[in-house]
């Protein structure tokens, strides 16, 4: 299967990208790693008439400390994030989650900005970014603006990005190794999660908890976060993980099972983040 025909525009700076978006209007799509967009174009679920390739914009590929945040260029590939020493030291949840995305080939191409813009409810990195309370930096015809990620994912494949805008940077707090975990539950190792949970101790003392595939977008486990803030135990807080969510039913899981998984995974993530258990892995320690 192959995409419908389109026009291809290669840009080498953010300004050029913004200009190209303005010129081609709403039928244009940004192409970065292409690992979210090209698969749906091949199935003809997306039929853009223009692709603006930003993968050659060198200025979008970086991971650096900026004040009390880590700034990550939107064009940073998962593989680069996974191996970034800055990220590993300053916000280790993120490179770990990057290492759990798809498979090595996908990580060699896919970008952080791309996965955020794509807004898949089952996506790993957006879940981590939500737990981290990241900021999304956008550039558009009206200049640069920052949207808290808690206000960015609006609905099923729908974000707060406006026409003509592109993501240029993600900013996350410097958590250090203050306690974090990502519990991903899949059918096969490299599948999208049936449900996943990210937990991270934030610099202010708050614990951020977010989940993938528990609704139309990645979600914060708000009841859990509130319970933790109110001093409840991990066990009590995790029991509330599915509160206020309406997970979908599909061939992998019905809503009841997803809710159950959310409670289990959030509890496990919080336990690991609190330093009370080793992360669960697919690999067994079993009997021989």
């Amino acid at each position: 299967m192959i995409p419908s025909p389109f026009e291809y525009v290669r840009v080498s700076s953010v300004d050029e990208a913004v200009a190209a978006l303005a010129e081609h209007g709403e039928d244009a799509k940004i192409l970065a790693g292409g690992h979210s967009l090209l698969p749906i174009m091949k199935l003809r679920l997306a039929v853009p008439s223009v692709l603006i390739d930003i993968s050659g914009i060198a200025e979008l590929n970086y991971v650096r400390v900026d004040g009390d945040q880590v700034a990550i260029g939107a064009g940073t590939r998962h593989h680069d994030l996974e191996n970034s020493e800055v990220a590993q030291a300053e916000v280790p949840l993120l490179p770990h989650v990057a290492s759990r995305v798809g498979d090595p080939q996908v990580r060699h191409r896919g970008t952080l900005g791309g996965t955020v813009a794509h807004c898949d409810p089952a996506s790993d990195l957006p879940t981590a970014l939500l737990a981290l309370r990241a900021d999304v930096v956008l550039v558009g015809p009206n200049g640069r603006r920052t949207v808290p990620i808690t206000e960015f994912f609006l609905g099923f494949f729908e974000t707060a990005m406006e026409e003509g805008e592109l993501i240029v940077e993600l900013r996350v707090p410097r958590t250090g190794d203050g306690g974090w975990a990502y519990e991903k539950f899949t059918r096969r190792e490299n599948d999208w999660p049936i449900v996943s949970a990210a937990a991270v101790h934030l610099p202010g003392g708050e614990v951020g908890v977010a989940m993938a595939n528990m609704g139309g977008v990645v979600l914060r486990a708000e009841a859990t976060e509130a319970a933790l803030a109110a001093g409840k135990s991990i066990e009590e807080a995790a029991a509330l993980a599915a509160e206020g969510t309406s997970p979908s039913a599909d061939m992998h899981a019905d809503a009841e099972y997803r809710s159950h998984l959310a409670r289990v995974l959030v509890r496990r993530a919080l336990t690991v983040a609190a330093g009370e258990a080793a992360p669960s892995t697919a690999e067994s320690t079993a009997a021989a």
């Binding site: 299967m1 192959i2 419908s4 025909p5 698969p39 199935l43 003809r44 539950f185 059918r187 096969r188 190792e189 490299n190 599948d191 049936i194 061939m251 992998h252 899981a253 019905d254 099972y257 159950h260 998984l261 289990v264 669960s280 697919a282 067994s284 079993a286 009997a287 021989a288």
Partner: protein, 766 residues
């Protein structure tokens, strides 16, 4: 020392590893220059009346040379059901004119100059459909409320056997009954279907296609197109996996050949994976009722298996699969009474065909499940119950109540070897510990024994052709009617010739799959190749030596009986006179040294074995992970252990895949839910451990090699062992049965149900 039984690496591999194999889509044959690309327009609805098909816009699309619908195929004979016992009303059309019966049913074909233009143009074909209720699942089909073929008056495509007599389970202290699903799966050879066709000026058509037997595919294409078979030349390029789904030809291949004629241009077709997952034959698809009865000391007295086979929309090989299931119903067990009955139902889904094991894994899964449940019911270890009921070691053929005649077997020994290699007692001890501790990760141990039928008479007998020629330059050529697509015949067949002639394996070329050069052949399926095709090569080599001896005797002025083969020099020497010799090559230089032969096996063979599988189940989430697989697979004499092990590995993995992960799903309207490899959970490396194989070899008397089939055994043994292990991992929580695939949600729900049932029970007794 004979080369047979040694680990010869494949002679095919250097090319495969450097320039790649040449599959049908890779062909650069000059006759295909300027070929058009075919794209099918297929139904997006499972069941509907076709009101109209408008091709006008598509004909105007860039690169379009032609768009064909059924109206353009009036000179093609109608297709007939594949088996004479299926009523003539159950017939498919080349392209649908009045009714579509599954998502993927073909409606039109677009021919374009370039590959990329096809999909664009196909989108422009406007099909107006009037949606009908869809029949999904055998239970719905059996109601006969909505009929796929109203003229037939029923959805029952075929029925076999009679109900069990009313007194069948009389005298049993314990009777257990369970509905068991042997779910529909997709074979998914990595190479999708592909074909190319071109007509010559001599009026013959050359068809290249990916398949498991050129001669059978050729016969079908000729018959479907109403052509004299002599007018069809079929060539099988390298084939990227088959697993039963590429047995014979598909109507698409014949249609492409016909469109090459209509368009006057060569035509190529390679399906996409989505097209493959929705329109290539699926496998399994049985809904079974198993019922087993016996005494509390573990002796089974009666066993019954009643099967509803999902046939899919149009009858294909799936129609006969239940007969193999019925034949193998008792498996390795000496049950006094065995009953089997089946019917095949039409549904608005992809047709069912053969998939690794084809009817036999379904029988094994059923009987192993039945024994486990019987064991659980009487509170006895499932291994003990097996031991009590296994057919004892036999050297003379053993006849079963369902009409099979097993050639040779020692099932108890296979079971003992598997148990010993797995450390069964230690595993049970570890399981007990974890249960006592209430661990989150619990251990499950599954044991299966199996026997299957290989090299069966599939209607074309139990024979195979071979031609062997030695050339003057010291090389040799083998022509075979088998059709390797990963099995490594080029290496093994060369070993068999080398074993007799002493010509090195590297100097022996094995050819297959060209019907002009090899007009007769049975192909590769049903684990038949070595025991029939390999045996034919062996026989050809033996015969060639005899011919060579006669000619050498003249030349050396010796008695033929005094001549022996010197394997080191590929020559014949006079016994006791080492200096006097003539090589096969020298004899070939004088006169062609060639043998054509047919080997006919005495009968089918029955490989057997035992598998032990260990899983670890996260009881909170229900997710089971396979951590060990120990298998004993006895396929008689092994010619190349390296390749035989490879066959076992692949088979084992496909069994694990069915037991744990894979299932083709449709919604209630017949829409496929698993039409890409993102949705269909094809098993990957991370979901499997490395395997622990244990050797055992009980030769068969049915062929001179002593070999039985090995291609399907791994799947047949591993599927029930994995399922059993998963159930065992939560048995202490009250779970008796979980259908395949044993997904995490299924396991979790089974635990929830068992726990709430036990609470209810406790509540009522308190």
């Amino acid at each position: 020392m004979s080369i047979l039984g040694t680990r010869v690496v494949r002679t095919e591999d250097p090319l495969f590893l450097t320039r790649g194999a040449v599959y049908t889509d890779d062909l650069t044959d000059e006759r295909l220059t300027g070929a058009l690309h075919a794209t099918f327009v297929r139904s997006t609805v499972a069941h509907a009346k076709v009101l109209s098909v408008d091709t006008e816009a598509a004909k105007q699309a860039p690169g379009v040379v032609a768009v064909y619908t059924a109206a353009d195929l009036t000179d093609l004979p109608p297709l007939a059901p594949p088996f004479p016992f299926v009523a003539a009303e159950f017939v498919r059309q080349w392209l649908c004119t009045d009714t579509v019966r599954f998502v993927g049913d073909a409606i039109a074909v677009v021919l374009t100059e370039e590959r990329y233009q096809g999909e664009d143009a196909a989108e422009q074909v406007v099909v107006d459909l009037d949606v009908l209720p869809a029949v999904v699942g055998t239970a719905n089909a059996a109601k006969d409320e909505t009929l796929l073929f109203p003229a037939a008056g029923t959805n029952v495509l075929a029925a076999f056997g009679e109900p069990a007599p009313a007194d069948f389970f009389d005298g049993c202290d314990v009777v257990v009954e369970q509905a068991v699903v042997n779910q529909r799966v997709a074979p998914v050879p990595l190479e999708t279907r592909a074909t190319s066709a071109v007509w010559g000026e001599d009026g013959r058509v050359t068809v290249w296609c990916t398949n498991q037997g050129a001669q059978q595919a050729k016969g079908q294409i000729a018959e479907w197109l109403g052509l004299d078979a002599a007018l069809v030349h079929l060539v099988t390029p390298d084939v990227g996996g088959g697993f039963g789904a590429k047995i014979g030809a598909d109507p698409e291949y014949a249609l492409i050949a016909h469109l090459a004629k209509l368009s006057g241009r060569p035509v190529r077709w390679t399906e996409s994976r989505s097209e493959n997952l929705t329109t290539m034959l699926h496998g399994r698809g049985q809904d079974q009722i198993v019922k087993i009865g016996g005494s509390r000391d573990g002796k089974v007295l009666a066993y019954s298996l009643v099967t509803d086979q999902d046939g899919g929309a149009y009858p294909r090989i799936g129609v006969v699969l239940p007969t193999l299931t019925m034949l193998m119903t008792p498996g390795t067990y000496a049950f006094p009474k065995v009953h089997a009955q089946a019917r095949v139902l039409a549904t608005n889904t992809t047709s069912i065909g053969a998939y690794r094991g084809a009817g036999r894994p379904e029988a094994t899964a059923a009987v192993e499940r039945a024994l486990d449940m019987f064991a659980a019911e009487i509170g006895m270890d499932a291994v003990e119950v097996r031991r009590i009921n296994l057919v004892p070691k036999f050297d003379e053929p053993h006849s079963t109540p369902t009409g099979a005649t097993y050639d040779s077997g020692d099932y108890v020994a296979a079971l003992d070897k598997a148990l010993e290699a797995s450390g069964y007692a230690e595993l049970r001890a570890e399981q007990k510990l974890r249960r006592e501790r209430g661990d989150i990760r619990q251990l499950g141990i599954g044991v299966s024994t199996y026997v299957e039928i290989t090299g069966a008479d599939n209607g074309a007998g139990t024979g195979e052709e071979a031609e062997l020629e030695v050339h003057a330059d010291g090389t040799a050529t083998v022509l075979t009617g088998t059709s390797p697509h990963g099995q490594g015949h080029a290496t093994t067949w060369a070993m068999l010739a080398s074993d007799q002639l002493g010509i090195p394996v590297e100097k022996i070329t094995v050819l297959h799959g060209d019907t002009d050069r090899i007009p007769k052949g049975g192909g590769t399926m049903g684990s038949r190749s070595l025991q029939q095709g390999g045996a034919a090569v062996h026989q050809a080599a033996v015969e060639l030596v005899e011919i060579a001896k006669k000619r050498a005797a003249e030349r050396l002025e010796a008695n033929p009986d005094d001549l022996v083969v010197d394997l080191g020099t590929a020559s014949l020497t006079v016994k006791g006179t080492p200096g006097v010799s003539v090589s096969f090559a020298e004899l070939a230089a004088e006169e062609a040294l060639l043998v054509q032969t047919t080997f006919t096996a005495a009968a089918a063979t029955f490989p057997f074995g035992a598998h032990v599988v260990v899983v670890e189940t996260d009881v909170e989430s229900g997710k089971a992970t396979v951590i060990r697989i120990v298998t004993v697979d006895d396929a008689g004499t092994i010619i190349n252990p390296l390749l035989a092990e490879g066959q076992r590995h692949g088979g084992i993995a496909q069994g694990v895949a069915q037991a744990l992960l894979e299932e083709v799903l449709y919604d209630s309207d017949g829409n496929p839910q698993t039409s890409t490899l993102a949705d269909y959970p094809f098993i990957s490396a991370t979901e499997l451990p490395s395997f622990e194989l244990v050797d055992m070899a009980t030769p068969t008397p049915m062929n001179p090699l002593g070999a039985k089939g090995i291609g399907e055994a791994g799947t047949i043994g591993s599927t029930p062992a994995v399922q059993s292990a998963v159930i065992d991992s939560v048995a202490h929580l009250g779970v008796r049965h979980v259908d395949m695939p044993a997904t995490s949600m299924r396991v979790w729900k089974a635990v929830q149900a068992a726990q709430s049932a036990s609470q209810t029970q406790n509540g009522s007794t308190n």
